[in-house]
């Protein structure tokens, strides 16, 4: 089966049941299936072919979910991008993925047009929401194209090994890499998640996670696979509103990242058991401090808390079952069902308990590689009988019972607000600002956000740049979560004997022995 077959199946079984609620709109399974059929037929009529890449720059919305399924039904490959992506990075991604179609929310149209400047081929451009008067006339309104008359043939797709998704992730080199997942690998990961979370058709999951993020996309897929209801909210900026919404919709599942848990547990006036319908909470993307998880479980004693570890390259690798959290609060658990995970040394030998080595994951959930980058793919993947082995690049150890413990990352990626940030990517932007002679970036520990990004800068003489000037420059060239929170000016930055800038120990990421993902 392919992903869209699960939607068709759920539409057949639960036709009038609510599939999706977002931004005041509600769609039943029948409606979601029909609307994505219309849009898919319309895309096909506009020339989209199997294997074509479809870029999406959108916040959580009903239209974006319809577009995902329409792309799959047309045999195409959604490539969702973080909504605050800026021109240069978008230009690079357009260059490498050569999309035939771009969906963008109305307020991002000008970013797309600037990024397309000078492109040989202009893709089909479709805007979600009201077309602004400033939009160039080659932008089509989603509303116009999604209500197609249904005359175009929609050829049935059958290849479950076909590419289903490209997710761009920060690489340690600072160049974003497109992680390739097939229908089969995504469905394998989601099937495994459904198994350990025990998802059912009466689940109602409320997600604020961006749909450009593997953890956000698994919420869509798992709910469609079981016939549950997905409630999408755009952000966690107003936590109280989201908590009210959880109660209102009687959510049974709430996926979060640790900064959200820290904000909730920091509230003083919440009553224990204030969300009586909540059956489970999941946490991924970064370490949840044990003090936070303890308080969260006290606040919501009836909700099972699952701490998980994964990376975009395999969606999810391990999970700690809720009933183990008391005994092993620092563990990220064991391999997810249907997969294997183990710790190996540099020669590939299996390590015993307590020994530190690299975590590798094997199974049908592992990506097929990085888009257009065979070299990086072969460095991370090893073909094995019946699947692939993924080298996570993260150091782990196990206890006597085989439970995994995160030790440290091998690279210098910063984890902030549950997102991965490559210091090199930020440093490259800093160096592009005239007046900056030396620049380095590091994560500073923060009780809520995990780490906050700080830039260390040495200026050219008479450069006259202020902290605001530098932050403004960063904000115009980087996604919002990558923008440093502060700048520290130095006369010069410390260097190694080879001239490479090296921050001192207190500025670089300390090793933590904790659960992260």
């Amino acid at each position: 089966m392919r992903i869209e077959d699960h939607l068709r199946q759920s539409a057949g079984r639960f036709g009038s049941k609510t599939a999706l609620i977002a931004g005041g709109t509600q769609l039943s399974y029948g409606e979601l299936d029909r609307l994505s059929d219309y849009l898919a037929a319309s895309l096909v009529a506009n020339g989209i072919k199997a294997g074509d890449r479809v870029l999406m720059i959108a916040e959580n919305s009903v239209e974006a979910i319809v577009a995902f399924f329409a792309a799959w039904k047309a045999g195409a490959v959604p490539c969702p991008l973080y909504a605050s992506i800026k021109q240069d990075k978008l230009h690079a991604i357009i260059d490498s993925t050569e999309p035939s179609t771009i969906f963008a929310q109305a307020r991002f149209l000008s970013v797309v047009d600037s990024a397309l400047g000078g492109a040989d081929h202009i893709p089909l451009k479709i805007a979600f929401g009201t077309l602004p008067t400033s939009a160039t006339e080659d932008w089509l309104a989603y509303e116009a194209i999604a209500t197609y008359d249904g005359k175009a043939e929609l050829p049935r797709q059958v290849d479950s090994e076909a590419l289903a998704l490209l997710i761009h992730t920060s690489g340690s080199t600072g160049t974003p890499k497109g992680v390739m997942h097939s229908h089969a690998s995504l469905l394998a990961a989601c099937g495994s998640i459904i198994e350990y979370l025990e998802n059912r058709s009466d689940d109602i999951v409320l997600s604020v996670l961006p749909i450009s993020f593997g953890y956000g996309i698994t919420q869509i897929l798992t709910m469609v696979m079981v016939g549950g209801t997905l409630v999408l909210e755009k952000s966690f900026a107003f936590p109280r509103k989201v908590l009210q919404r959880l109660a209102e919709v009687k959510a049974t599942g709430f996926p979060l990242v640790p900064p959200m848990a820290a904000l909730i547990t920091g509230m003083q006036d919440l009553q224990s058991g204030f969300l009586p319908d909540l059956r489970y909470i999941t946490s991924a993307a970064a370490a949840m401090p044990p003090s936070v998880s303890q308080r969260l479980r006290t606040l919501l004693p009836d909700a099972r808390l699952f701490l998980m570890y994964g990376q975009t390259e395999c969606i999810r690798a391990t999970y700690l079952a809720a009933d183990e959290a008391d005994r092993r609060p620092l563990s990220v658990g064991r391999a997810i069902p249907g997969t294997r995970a183990f710790v190996i040394d540099e020669d590939g030998r299996l390590l015993g308990s307590g020994e530190i080595g690299e975590l590798v994951a094997e199974g049908p959930h592992v990506m097929s590689g990085y888009w257009g980058d065979a070299l990086a793919s072969s460095a991370k993947l090893l073909p094995i009988p019946g699947g692939r082995r993924l080298h996570t690049g993260d150091l782990f150890r196990t206890d006597e019972d085989g439970f995994f413990y995160f030790v440290s990352r091998r690279d210098d990626i910063i984890k902030t607000r549950g997102e991965k940030v490559s210091p090199q990517e930020v440093e490259r932007v800093l160096y592009a600002l005239p007046g900056i002679r030396e620049a380095a970036v590091a994560g500073i520990d923060d009780p809520v956000f995990g780490q906050l990004i700080r830039a260390y800068v040495a200026l050219e003489q008479d450069a006259g740049l202020s902290e605001k000037d530098i932050l403004r420059h960063c904000a115009t060239h980087l996604e919002d979560y990558m923008v440093p929170k502060s700048v520290e000016f130095r006369d010069a930055l410390p260097k190694t004997s080879t001239g490479k800038i090296r921050l001192s120990a207190e500025q670089s990421t300390p090793d933590i022995e904790d659960n992260v993902a």
Partner: protein, 86 residues
Amino acid sequence: MTDKFNAPVREFIAENFLFRADAELDDNQSLLESGVIDSTGVLEVIAFLEQTFGISIADDEIVPENLDSIASMTRYLASKLPAEAA
């Protein structure tokens, strides 16, 4: 009278966040919807209001009705500081 709060709030938003958006900022425009501030930005706004106006913002007051536009912030400040707003 909320005018006395409007200017410092607008100045803070313009100085710290406006470079994220292209357009001029309307008093009633949602700061979140228009991408001017993000979720960490809300925390910075809270810290600014508490420090500048000497108020304490309760958890249940951190809602868009109070903080998601320049107009809502000035209204909220006026309700917290009736003596100064008068």
